[in-house]
Each structure stands twice: as structure tokens, then as C-alpha cells.
């Protein structure tokens, strides 16, 4: 097997190097003149993001508006991962033995008190990253992961059962589903108003206080990122719970 692997890897490596090798063909590192960078597409993005959407962060604008459909399916991928891991690994045990709380397993007092202080700050930061994703690096995915990490921190510092009391498995599923429904809901709102799916510009007719298509895009992007955050948070927590307990969802690490 190792020989076969060696041959395969060698061949693939040679092919890749061949593709990159010829100097006048492959653009060199970091030139503004490479076809990808000079293409009308990326020039358009850089120049027109602010005009079309009033959002300074070009990456978020491309992610949530121009290529918003890809992002919707990215959210679906996360949802599928959560569903799939649940489906593969979850075992339902009836009446396990109750855990004995000894001195080792009792949550450590330093850790629990530190976390008590830190976790609200982490969650606030997560919300900041989400909301400020329009002007600084950030957005729905990043904020969602940080928020999910805060829940995982509860599970690590105390116990998975205590974390589950706050955010149970069922609630996590419902939360993740709501995230996708929010995203698709924005798209369908456009459809019902007559424009294409995910064309946020037309939503300015039904959103209160929004006067122009550009601002409608701005706020719809925020809404869509909120949906993404719901899904990412809940699925991150769910994946942690399922994988750490090998499917039993009790008695965490």
C-alpha cells in the first residue's frame, strides 16, 4: 500500500508542479496583473460593493449578497453535518447509572468562577463580531463559532449535563433549523415580491424604515448573517456534545 501511495503522490506532485512551473504562463506571486486580479469580476467587486450595498467589507458583501446562494448551501452543509453526526453516532440509552461525584470529578472552583466571568463577555464579543461584520472582518460564521465555543466552555468547565440544561439537544436542533429558515425566508420574500430569489433589493418595500434598495441589501445581509449564526452556534455545540460523549450525550469530559 505504501508503494502505491508513493507512486500516486509522486505523480500528482509532478503534475501540479508542471502546471505551476512555466513562468510566463502561471502568474507569479502577488502581482496585481494576474488574470484573477485584473478580471472584470474582481475589479467590479472592489469598486462597486459600496455603491450597491453600502457595506464596506467586500468579503462580507460578496459572501452574503452577490454569492449569497453559496452561503445558504454552506449553512445547509453545516446543518447536514449536525444531522449526519447525530444520525450516525447517537445512541439512546435508557437509565444509565448515575454518576458518582467524587473529588476528581467535581468542577474546579477556580475554573468555574473564571468562566462565570468570561462567558458573558465571550458571548457579547460573538454578537459584536456578527454585527460588525459589515465593517470589519467577521460575520455570521465567525460569530457563530465564537458563540458556540462559549457553550462548549460551559460544558468543559462544569459538565455537559449542566450545559444541556441550558441548551438542550432538541433546542439546538430547532435553533439550527430556524437559522436556515431565516435565510430561505429572505430569499422567498424576494420571490413573493416578484424578483429573483435572494434579490434583497426589492425587500425595501416591506421592511420598515428602509428607503433604498441599497440599505435593504445592507439590512438583509445582517438578517441573513443572523440566521447563519443561529445554525452555526447550535450545530457546533451539538457536534461537541455528540463527539465528546460518543453519542450518549451525558457525562461530559
Amino acid at each position: 500500500m505504501k508503494k502505491l501511495a508513493g507512486i500516486v503522490v509522486f505523480t500528482v506532485g509532478l503534475i501540479l508542479l508542471y502546471g505551476v512551473s512555466s513562468l510566463d504562463d502561471f502568474p507569479s506571486w502577488g502581482t496585481p496583473d494576474s488574470p484573477a486580479n485584473k478580471s472584470p469580476l474582481s475589479q467590479y467587486f472592489i469598486k462597486n460593493t459600496i455603491v450597491d450595498t453600502e457595506v464596506p467589507n467586500m468579503v462580507t458583501a460578496v459572501l452574503a449578497d452577490y454569492r449569497g446562494y453559496d452561503t445558504m448551501f454552506e449553512t445547509v452543509v453545516i446543518f447536514v453535518a449536525g444531522l449526519g453526526i447525530f444520525a450516525v453516532v447517537r445512541v439512546f440509552e435508557h437509565g444509565g447509572a448515575s454518576r458518582v461525584v467524587t473529588a476528581d470529578t467535581k468542577p474546579d472552583i477556580i475554573i468555574t468562577n473564571t468562566c462565570r466571568l468570561l462567558i458573558p463577555l465571550i458571548q457579547l464579543f460573538a454578537l459584536y463580531v456578527l454585527a460588525h461584520g459589515h465593517s470589519s472582518p467577521g460575520g455570521g460564521f465567525q460569530g457563530g463559532v465564537i458563540m458556540g465555543a462559549s457553550f462548549i466552555l460551559v460544558a468543559l468547565a462544569w459538565d455537559l449535563d449542566i450545559a444541556l440544561k441550558r441548551f438542550s439537544e432538541k433546542q439546538a436542533f430547532i435553533c439550527s433549523g430556524i437559522g436556515i429558515l431565516i435565510y430561505a425566508g429572505f430569499g422567498l420574500a424576494s420571490v413573493f415580491l416578484g424578483e429573483e430569489f435572494l434579490n434583497y433589493g426589492i425587500i425595501h418595500k416591506i421592511l420598515p424604515g428602509v428607503d433604498s434598495p441599497e440599505m435593504a441589501r445592507y439590512y438583509a445581509m445582517l438578517g441573513v448573517e443572523i440566521g447563519v449564526m443561529f445554525t452555526v452556534t447550535s450545530i457546533m455545540f451539538l457536534i461537541y456534545g455528540l463527539l465528546a460523549t460518543r453519542g450518549k450525550m451525558t457525562a461530559g469530559l
Binding site: 502546471g19 505551476v20 484573477a36 472584470p40 446562494y69 446543518f79 453535518a81 444520525a87 430561505a184 429573483e196
Partner: protein, 526 residues
């Protein structure tokens, strides 16, 4: 609303999947009805889309998501959906196969994966959404995302089964990820050279700037194709397929086996024809020779390996490898003399019509056979061929459908299998590739041997002795008829009828395909 049909055929099943996963937590009985409603909606919208396509002047329907259309913005700013005759038909096939498999799955899901029905059906719906999305998109990166959606759902669906299924799912996962990553890398190379992600945009830039001789584009082509070949199980990259398909839970096998490889063949065709263009593929690369030889090896290897199998589903999986060989070989057949610019693709590569037709007919054949085999396994209690004795007496309708499927695989008129072999063989004769025609004929003979062996067992074998000590199998009278319940029979009968119908309508379908090929050769502008 109907002008949004291309998107709604994706969004409605997606919403159905989310509702299934959510509401199923509380009310388990809602899952299957939601799934069926989702698929009926998908079928409805895909039929509407196809009608729009055939009614439109240049035979395509273009839909820009988010409203970033090509007239006001540079092409590729948004994501574009483009439906033409080829993928219009394929969309209907995917929705129909998914619907039939969903109806069929009622018995099996509660048996094989208890307690997880909501997740199972949600994953089922999302698999179909991913497949349909792959078919309809005209953006190379969107294709990757949807490829991963359908791959992840299929890994999870297979791993939900028995313990052998988990190992098979792991192997499939590793191979599938390698394939998808190669595809991504290839798209990256193309992006570096052209700066666009839209399939039509890439084509225009490749032709317009004369990039076709560059090594980077060649490497991109190679990478994308190796990735796609892994996904469509082209011999010898097909080691994952027999394990994954034969050990999967029954209902999963019924939807994955007919569709995953065929959609991957469609992707190969789409990349060959739309992104790189026929001139590049057939003229610049002279791969046509070696490719057809590898396809011949694939067909023969698949058929011979199938002969040695004792397990019914494993045998069918090896036959799928052979069928993939038909399709890939057919796509690379080329009439001698190459292509003159401006000449229609149809006249020089008739094998492509065969491949396109075979995508549809093979999906139907595989569905029918997997459904029949699933039903047979339930009745016989095991999946080994020797245990299929006497099934004709017990469940004649099921066996009749199996026979229709078998005849289609062998290639007996008027089933669709005959016509697809006809197109492929005539394409082979035109291209002067006798070895391909010979391989097709040999494979038909091997199929005949295989299937008649099974039919002989099922017809003439004695029923197995009833062991009263078990008490499971209560037979009221010995040798009595115990037909399968309607939820299994209805899809099975519909699938077999479809086989004959696709055969009878072959002229129309081939007509659509040749129209599609005509538009491709003329530059495919849109």
C-alpha cells in the same frame, strides 16, 4: 411564480427537509409525508422548467440568483442557473427517482434505522437537493458546494446502517473527499488563469484569450477530471463503490445507486462541453484513443467481477461500474477526421447522444433493479443469490419487475437498455472503435448469463424449508403467495413501466439530446 421554477425546485425540498428534521422531533409520523410532498413539488417544478426550456427560442432558461444578471453586471458577479435540454431532463429524472425511492423506503427505514427517521428523511431530501443543484448550476464553485452537500448526506446515510456499512462509508468518505478536493484544486487553477467562476465565462475567456495551450489549463483539466472520475467510479478509481452500495441500508441504496454516479457523468459532460468546449477536448488533447481503451477495460472488468459475486447487491454494484464505463467511453468517441469548426457536434460524436441517453436509462434501470432486489431480500431473508429460491411463486409481481429490469440491462427491445446500446454501438462504428462495440456486446452477454442465473434460481428452485422453531415466518399454507406490500410494489411497477416508456420514447429523447449538442458546437452562447 412559474418563472422562479428553477429555484423553487431546490428550495421547496430544502424547506421540507428542515421541517422534517424539526417537526419530526415531536411528531414522527410527519416525516414520510413531508418527504413525499417535497419530492412531488420538486418533480412539478422540474417538469415546468423543462417545458419552459423546450418552449424557449434557444432552448435554455437562465436564472440569475440575487438578480445579478449578465446584462447589467459582468458575468459571474452572481450565481447563474442555466437549464438546457440535457439537464432539464436529468432534473426530472432525479426528482422522479427520489420520489419513488422515498415511497419505497417506508418499510425499511423503521426496520434498519430505528428512532432516527426524522434525520434519515431530512438527509434523504437534502441528498436530492444537492443532486439537483449540481445539475442545474452554471457556476463552478457552486457545483463544488452542492457536490459536498450531496456527498456528505450520502456518507451519513450509508453510515447509518450496519457496522460493515460504517467501514464502507469511511472508505467512501476518504475517496470522495480526495475527488472533491481535486475538483476544487482544478477550479482554482482555472480561476487563476481566467479570473472567472462562471462556466460560460470561463469558456469565453479561454477561447477569447487563446489560453487553451497553456500548461496550467491542461493541469486544471486533468485535476477536475480525475476528481470527477473518482466520484463516478471510473475503473480503477472505483474501489469504494461495491462496498458502499452493497452494504448501505436498503432504502439508501435505492436512491444513491441510480443517481450519484449518473450526476457525476453529467458533470463530466458539462465540463467537457461547456467549460472547455468540444474543440479543446477533442482536438487539442488526443485523449480519445486511450480513454476509450480504459473504458473498455472498465466494462470488461466490471462485468467479470460481477460474475464472481455471490451477493446480489454487490453484483449489481459491479455492473454499475461497467455501466459507467459505457458512458465515459461513449462520451469520448469521436469520428475520424476530428471536428471541423462550425460542424455540428452531433455529426462527429454520436457517442455523446448514447451517453446522454444512457444517463437517463441507466438511472431508471438501476432504480428498478435496486428496488426489486430490496424487495427480494426482504422476502428471501438474505442477500445471497442461492437464497433466492422459489421467489417467483411467492411474489410474482416483484419478480416480474426484476425480469423487466434484467432485460433492460441485457439490452432487449423495447426496453431502454436496447436503445442506449444501439446508440452507443452505432457511435462506436462511426468512430471506427470496434473494441468499444465489442466490449458492449461482451458485456451484454455477461449480463445475460448473470441475470438468467438468478431468474433460474428464483423460478425453479424449491422454497426453503420452514423452520418452525424460529416462529418468525408464519406461513399459512406452504408455497402460498406472499406479495410485498403496496408501498414497495407501486414504485417498483412504476419503475419498470418507466423502463419501457423510456425505450419507446427514445426518438424524442435522442432528438432533444441532438438539439442540445447542436447548440454546443455553435458556441453555446447564452
Amino acid at each position: 411564480m412559474v418563472e422562479h421554477a428553477p429555484v423553487l425546485l431546490m428550495v421547496v425540498p430544502l424547506l421540507a427537509a428542515v421541517f422534517c428534521a424539526l417537526l419530526g422531533l415531536r411528531w414522527k409520523a410527519l416525516c414520510l409525508p413531508l418527504t413525499i410532498i417535497g419530492f412531488i413539488a420538486a418533480l412539478y417544478f422540474s417538469v415546468i422548467t423543462f417545458l419552459q426550456v423546450s418552449a424557449s427560442s434557444d432552448h435554455q432558461v437562465i436564472y440569475f440568483l440575487g438578480g445579478w444578471n449578465a446584462s447589467e453586471f459582468p458575468r459571474g458577479v452572481g450565481i447563474e442557473y442555466r437549464v438546457d435540454l440535457l439537464n432539464g431532463m436529468l432534473l426530472i429524472v432525479i426528482a422522479a427517482v427520489a420520489l419513488l425511492a422515498a415511497i419505497f423506503s417506508k418499510q425499511f427505514v423503521s426496520m434498519e434505522t430505528p428512532g432516527k427517521e426524522p434525520q434519515y428523511y431530512a438527509l434523504f431530501l437534502l441528498l436530492a437537493v444537492g443532486l439537483m443543484g449540481m445539475t442545474i448550476t452554471a457556476d463552478a464553485f457552486n457545483l463544488y458546494v452542492l457536490l459536498e452537500v450531496s456527498s456528505l448526506t450520502s456518507y451519513a446515510l450509508i453510515a447509518m446502517g450496519s457496522r460493515r456499512a460504517s467501514v464502507a462509508a469511511f472508505q467512501y468518505l476518504i475517496m470522495g473527499t480526495i475527488g472533491a478536493s481535486f475538483y476544487l484544486l482544478g477550479v482554482g487553477y482555472l480561476y487563476i488563469k481566467t479570473g472567472s467562476l462562471n462556466m460560460q465565462g470561463i469558456h469565453d475567456i479561454l477561447i477569447g484569450e487563446g489560453l487553451l495551450e497553456s500548461p496550467a489549463v491542461y493541469v486544471a483539466f486533468l485535476l477536475i477530471f480525475v476528481g470527477v472520475w473518482i466520484k463516478l467510479a471510473f475503473f480503477p478509481l472505483s474501489t469504494w463503490l461495491p462496498n458502499a452500495y452493497s452494504r448501505a441500508p436498503t432504502a439508501t441504496g435505492c436512491i444513491i445507486a441510480p443517481l450519484m454516479t449518473k450526476v457525476s457523468v453529467y458533470i463530466m459532460l458539462r465540463i467537457m462541453l461547456t467549460v472547455f468546449g468540444p474543440e479543446y477536448v477533442y482536438d487539442e488533447l488526443s485523449w480519445s484513443g486511450p480513454m476509450v481503451w480504459i473504458a473498455v477495460v472498465a466494462i470488461i472488468a466490471g462485468s467479470i467481477l460481477a460474475l464472481g459475486q455471490k451477493d446480489l447487491r454487490r453484483m449489481l454494484s459491479y455492473l454499475i461500474i461497467a455501466e459507467v464505463g459505457y458512458m465515459v467511453g461513449g462520451a469520448w468517441l469521436l469520428a475520424p477526421g476530428g471536428m471541423a469548426r462550425g460542424e455540428s457536434l452531433y455529426s462527429t460524436a454520436t457517442g455523446l447522444v448514447g451517453t446522454g441517453y444512457h444517463i437517463i436509462s441507466d438511472a431508471a434501470m438501476t432504480l428498478c433493479l435496486f428496488l426489486a432486489v430490496g424487495a427480494m431480500i426482504v422476502k428471501a431473508g438474505s442477500s445471497r443469490i442461492e437464497d433466492m429460491k422459489g421467489l417467483f411463486r411467492k411474489c410474482p409481481v416483484t419478480m416480474a419487475c426484476f425480469v423487466v429490469g434484467a432485460l433492460a440491462m441485457i439490452g432487449v427491445p423495447p426496453t431502454c437498455g436496447f436503445f442506449s446500446k444501439w446508440y452507443l454501438i452505432s457511435g462506436a462504428f462511426e468512430a471506427g472503435r470496434w473494441e468499444f462495440a465489442a466490449a458492449l456486446i461482451i458485456s451484454s452477454l455477461v449480463n445475460a448469463v448473470l441475470f438468467f442465473r438468478i431468474i433460474e434460481f428464483a423460478y425453479f428452485g424449491k422454497l426453503p424449508e420452514v423452520d418452525d422453531a424460529h416462529g418468525h415466518h408464519q406461513r399459512h399454507d406452504e408455497g402460498g403467495m406472499e406479495e410485498n406490500p403496496p408501498s414497495m410494489l407501486v414504485p417498483l411497477v412504476l419503475a419498470s413501466v418507466a423502463l419501457i416508456a423510456i425505450g419507446l420514447f427514445n426518438k424524442e429523447i435522442a432528438g432533444y439530446l441532438s438539439q442540445f449538442l447542436n447548440t454546443v458546437a455553435m458556441g453555446g452562447q447564452g
